[in-house]
Symmetry: C2
Subunit: 328 residues, 2 copies
């Protein structure tokens, strides 16, 4: 790992320019009901409102835009069962590039359909018997398609960093100094991009990753200073946050800039999804709500402070959403 590979604030500024005509410029949202509940001034970054329903479009579009014109006809390939799939497919559609997405055969039909809806070719694999990375590399090798990594890539991180770039702009516009900024972490690309942008403008802000209980590889790695896998067996309702270990590039950034990690249980995440329905009137998927869940559960020392919370995605199946909002 050399620092030469790491994205910089300038890369995020470039990404912001590249994304500007295509990404939704989401604005910070405040909720008097939330502020009262946690005794803090909370500013929500609603990436649920982003094109494709999650921040993933940003990194994907920035990466695809960096592919030289003479390589674009060969297209792109990615493996993902969820938001990255849709982000890559939508970015490829806009840039008129062919896209192949390798998805597990048990991925929810709605996610397969949405990915196909953006014009991508979907290749299914058997989660138990096949290696999706190998399948994607084979496709890349045969077709010349560029592999688009979900997080461990400087252009992807810079794209996700525009989330933090816009948050910093909005904080400044309303004259607010954020004390704390927390975002969900899986591979850590979103947090790394946000950290680069926020720390450049607000060096005193404390940054925190948010993860589901058990899937706390960032919390553990930030504590020890070295990349560690999570120890969870089984699953979490946060299907978007199941990466097994922080990325190399992302952790090189996060280990320098992020203070520590917080977690929330699946039950707390479910309550946060229901709270967002009831009080915020936003549709947030479980993985997108984990930082909010940690805040509501008192895992973030927020009282009296100004806190930025990223709601990173809203792609949740109707059945699960219905269950979560009706269980209270």
């Amino acid at each position: 790992m050399t620092d030469k590979l790491l994205p910089t604030f300038a890369d995020i500024e470039s990404a912001a320019r590249v994304l500007s005509p295509y990404a939704v410029r989401t604005r910070l949202i405040s909720s008097p009901a939330l502020d009262e509940r946690v005794g803090a001034r909370v500013l929500l970054k609603p990436e649920v409102l982003q094109r494709t329903g999650s921040f993933k479009f940003r990194g994907a579009f920035n990466k695809l835009s960096s592919i030289p014109q003479d390589r674009r006809a060969a297209g792109v390939v990615a493996f993902s069962s969820g938001n990255h799939a849709q982000g890559v497919a939508a970015a490829a559609q806009i840039l008129k590039m062919p896209a192949t997405i390798v998805m597990p055969s048990d991925a929810p039909a709605s996610k397969r359909e949405r990915t196909k809806g953006y014009g991508a070719q979907v290749v299914l694999y058997d989660r138990d018997k096949e290696d999706r990375e190998q399948i994607a590399r084979d496709i890349s090798g045969k077709s010349g398609a560029v592999l688009v990594p979900p997080f461990d890539d400087p252009m992807v991180i810079a794209g996700q960093g525009t989330v933090g770039f816009e948050m910093a702009e909005d904080f400044a516009a309303i004259g607010v100094l954020p004390d704390i900024v927390s975002a969900p972490a899986s591979g850590g690309g979103l947090m790394a991009g946000i950290a680069l942008a926020i720390k450049a403008k607000f060096p005193d802000a404390t940054l925190m990753t948010a993860e589901p209980d058990g899937f706390d590889d960032h919390a553990r790695s930030l504590n020890s200073g070295v990349r560690q896998p999570h120890r969870a067996e089984g699953r979490t309702i946060c299907d978007a946050l199941m990466a097994s270990i922080p990325g190399e590039l992302t952790f090189a950034v996060n280990s320098k800039l992020v203070a520590h990690g917080v977690t929330a249980s699946d039950a707390e995440v479910g309550e946060a999804v229901a709270f967002a329905f009831r009080e915020l009137k936003l549709v947030v998927e479980p993985g997108g709500a984990v930082a909010l869940a940690a805040l509501l559960a008192g895992r973030i020392d927020a009282r009296g402070k100004t806190v930025g919370i990223v709601l990173s995605g809203g792609n949740v199946d109707a059945d699960l959403f219905a269950k979560l909002i009706q269980q209270v």
Copy 2:
């Protein structure tokens, strides 16, 4: 009816100043998925994000703020089963005024609880046997509490007009001329306020009320030029839009400024609620989604145009919401 009673653009500017420290400044939202679907540039005014979950807080707060200090201790009284109740209760809480809300005994428990949650006293009445206006007037007569009308009041209309005032600001900020602006109508206060604000800044914009099929008193009244009741028997899932006839003051404004009314069926409204869940990631109640429903159903000639659509509220019970999003 004299013109002296009618609110003006200056009243809306005043209301915007009064509301500024307390109301959420909602920002126009765009959705590439929606734009593609209807072939238009659509800008959504998400009043679901407003304090109390609907625009009603604006009119209520502006009205209560206009009550002289020496009358405030006697408090306010209002009758409503829904969003107006919460708007008045929340405004009274902020202004430290006692509030009594007269609600039907069969109102959803969640709406009663939310209204009580803002510190209001809730008085229940029997929808079939008692006259809620009489009950409210009795309370007012005995206590000196000021009756806060749901729509037919200049200060209430001016407060709702800040919705249009902010839309006009946002249109101007992004350099957009709106061709069409549509908002849900029940008593017509929201549309009247919006019409005053939008027409002051964009005189060429075409304004349209949106109503549920059958409950189309505005559509009929705008057609004929005189106030007419709706002819619906029974109910609509748009529980917020069941006023029987346009207000006197509101229609005096709307008959001059609003072009015509559009409607949507309950099924179309349900589809719009599901669309907002799936594609916009916003929680919109049926009554709040009727203008969007009319747009999606092709009742608004939007193709190639720039269209402002007001999503006026998001207070929907979890059970109904679950049903609507799962039915597709």
